[in-house]
Amino acid sequence: MTREPSEEDILRPLKHTSMWYFVALGIAGIGALIWVAGYLWQLQHGLAVTGLSDWGSGGGVTWGMYIGLFIWWVGIAHGGIILSAAVRLLGMDRYQPVARLAELLTIGALSMAGLMILVHTGRPDRLVWSVVVSYTETVHSSPLVWDVTVITLYFVLTATYLALTLRYDISRLRDDLPGLFTPFYEVVTLGYTEEEDPIVERMVWWLALAIIILAPLLLHGGVIPWLFQLMPSMPGWFDSVQGPQFLTIALSSAISGVIILSYVMRARYDWYHLLSDNVLRGLTNWLGLFVLLFLWLQLQQVISGVFAAPISVGTVTGAMLGHPVYWFAIGVSVLILALIFASAIRPSIWSPTLAVVFSVGILSATLAEKVLFLVEGLQYPGFGLYAAIPGAYFPSLVEISAFVGTVSMVTIFFLVVLKVFPVIELHAVESHDGDHGHAEVAD
């Protein structure tokens, strides 16, 4: 018999805390502290501890893993809200139980992306001076300022979206929520009346429309790649295919993040009927589509770079094709794509655990590809300025600690949110009950 989702299901994380919760919190806490130690070391001795300061000590590489992580986290952030907006705009109700988890992933991941920019500035006060104080000058001509503008916009739109949808849930579930966070609930539901429900629903619809245009087309397919593709001095970057290329990587890593999150959540909170195999299978198929597009755009880049390219472009393409990290990223992506196709032909191949293995593989491949893109872009400039810079780039321990720390901090963020409000929308339970009568769309 199929289990019907209930309010009790979505309240479970708020009412029960297992030993595993504290174990996860402890491990993530240690990971976060490792990064804090690394960052304090950097603040004390300067960005030089990473080798990324001045001209960069490793072959002229000044943007290393920090900026690689920035792109990676923005990418993960990206799909979260896209998925949620698609549920609202396109009626893909099957994914409604994942929607809020995905929105939260956007907020957590975007915060980490912003943190990486802050950390990479060396002195944290530089961010405000270069972005806020001089905004009226720099917005005209600085892709970095465009980037911070759109990321702020994305963060604010997502948080507004989440805040508006929380009003409905919190006002109805208020009696079952922990008393500790009463001030938060009061602020979120300030002035709430049931008459506002259809109005807020419509407002959120418009926000979803704004986000679904802004995030893919103007953020990860826009200002993020423009940080690179607008630099004529870097032949590895100066290429208008970067917009769609970044977007496919973002969508692939974002869907991977959502798959892992859904897998862990359903196992921990017995949500197999909410985050069903069908949901995970559907997400895996979307992952396959985005990986296919990623590989197709790689082909475009490679064929342009090897056929009759200018010497500078040919050189950086050759360096990319000669690097094992590139073949790791492409090999993993091809293998996963083949397996996703195979599981479409023979469904018995697929399993939820395999979907998680695919997701971890794609997240590793996308991080590797983006760090290599950054590093080789800088190592093969179109001029000889860096020619005398010795060495090769390898991420310093401080940068690696940032990877550990950011993953840990996103984990802590989720562990905290689980105890504050339901991470599955009440609508998702009600629509299963037939309260809202949404039509199930074949997606």
Binding site: L153, L157, E196, P198, I199, W206, L207, L214
Partner: protein, 81 residues
């Protein structure tokens, strides 16, 4: 006489007048946000009070993000420099 529809023209100087960033941010990137906010006020169902609440969220969250950064920056300046 041949009408030269596709004849050579003088290239546009993109940096003359409005710089790319200005139209990119204010006339392209922000269009979805302008649209959403306009729809909150003009669309149905809707009411101005709820629309204003939405705008307060947008503005409030932006300030909540950057004002503490600004204060931290000023404090860093006072303490360390």
């Amino acid at each position: 006489m041949v009408l030269e529809i596709f004849g050579m023209v003088s290239p546009v100087d993109y940096w003359e007048g409005i710089a790319p960033g200005s139209w990119l941010i204010f006339a392209v990137v922000l269009v979805p946000v302008y649209t959403a906010v306009a729809a909150w006020y003009l669309g149905k169902p809707g009411n101005p009070k709820m629309a204003t609440m939405g705008v307060v969220y947008l503005v409030g969250l932006t300030l909540a993000l950057w004002v503490p950064f600004y204060i931290a920056t000023v404090l860093i300046g006072i303490i360390f420099f």
